[in-house]
Symmetry: C2
């Protein structure tokens, strides 16, 4: 059993928490919004506890379940409190005004940018950015478990994330070094643009990007 | 019924040809290698005919089933013979020495580079780069038809490609303008790196990148 911390109290925080609790991990929700945090902890029930921003980080794995700009601020805010921990960036740095570009410069990734702002003693991993909240909460789409693509420069950190992912009924796929996050984020720009496109009325944030079989 | 031209006589040429013939389209194989071209045409049987480099291009849709560098040379070589046609770039400009980067500069794509070299009267479309030859020849993986992600700046050209893709038992997904090829090519760098990685002994060029359901 792992102790998991999730920074954020939105849809992705909820879905990751549901998956982790399904595998009997303990989940700590650290939300800035006290009311949403309390509601989420109540929804999650046994296995979950809440805390405000600045509470003691208890998880060996810390999910940044917040948008890119917030994620950067969070790793700066928590600073050394993240030392020795696995920090999981799940974000998609998509320009939400256009769904036509990323807000990160070409040649890098949100994950690498976040890693630059994270204490050097932490282990930054990219994961779950290809998962949308609704299918993730269910764990599967069309009876196929969701694929979780995992990129990072620490083999041990990736093994830790892979282990909780597999235990929660999903399929972890180690895709290599953290710079592979560039490719994952690029692809999700395309996939997210499909979800908002009126031309694709069947894609409504309920799809899953999978490598079959 | 469409007349399809395929430039190339390798595995991808074969798989695309098999799919197209399954939908009763006529296929013209234009290969540089006379023997391979003859063998492929013989394998394909009725519905296929061969030609050497420089033969009259008969297809309204022309697949560039050759590597990136060759594809660029081909569109230059065929020049105005491609005018008015839909030219489909299927390539992945992956550095095959490392499987760690693309050979194209950041901020563009092989598709856009190829379009720059193609007569302005042709319509360049990116498609099939996420399909590997073996699953493509079969048409499905784990009973799920392959997704064919289609990017291009001409709606009519994309409709034409979508139509032959659907008729051949695959699922066409229009992913937007040609610049979305950047995202498709980035993701396939990652997916191809998985196929060659000894850590993933179950991924052997037989996977399919799908958006479920």
């Amino acid at each position: 059993m792992e102790q998991i911390t999730i920074i954020g109290s939105g849809n992705m925080a909820r879905s990751i928490a549901v998956r982790m609790i399904s595998a009997r991990h303990s989940v700590q929700i650290l939300g800035r919004n006290g009311e949403k945090t309390r509601e989420l902890v109540e929804f999650l029930g046994a296995g979950a506890q809440g805390g405000g921003e600045g509470a003691v980080v208890e998880g060996g794995i810390v999910f940044l379940a917040v948008p890119f700009a917030e994620a950067k601020k969070s790793v700066i805010f928590y600073g050394d409190a993240l030392a020795g921990r696995v920090v999981v960036d799940i974000c998609n740095p998509v320009d939400l005004a256009t769904f036509d570009s990323l807000v990160t410069p070409v040649g890098t990734s949100a994950a690498e940018e976040i890693a630059l702002h994270t204490t050097a003693d932490a282990f930054v991993v990219k994961a779950f950015n290809t998962c949308f909240a609704k299918p993730l909460e269910l764990g599967s789409v069309a009876r196929v478990p969701l694929d979780v693509f995992i990129a990072g420069d620490s083999e041990q950190a990736k093994l830790k994330v892979s282990s909780v992912v597999a235990a929660s009924g999903l399929r972890p796929i180690d895709v290599g070094p953290l710079r592979r996050a560039r490719d994952l984020e690029a692809m999700m720009l395309l996939v997210m643009a499909l979800q908002v496109s009126p031309a694709h009325e069947n894609f409504n944030w309920d799809t899953s990007l999978n490598l079959l079989p």
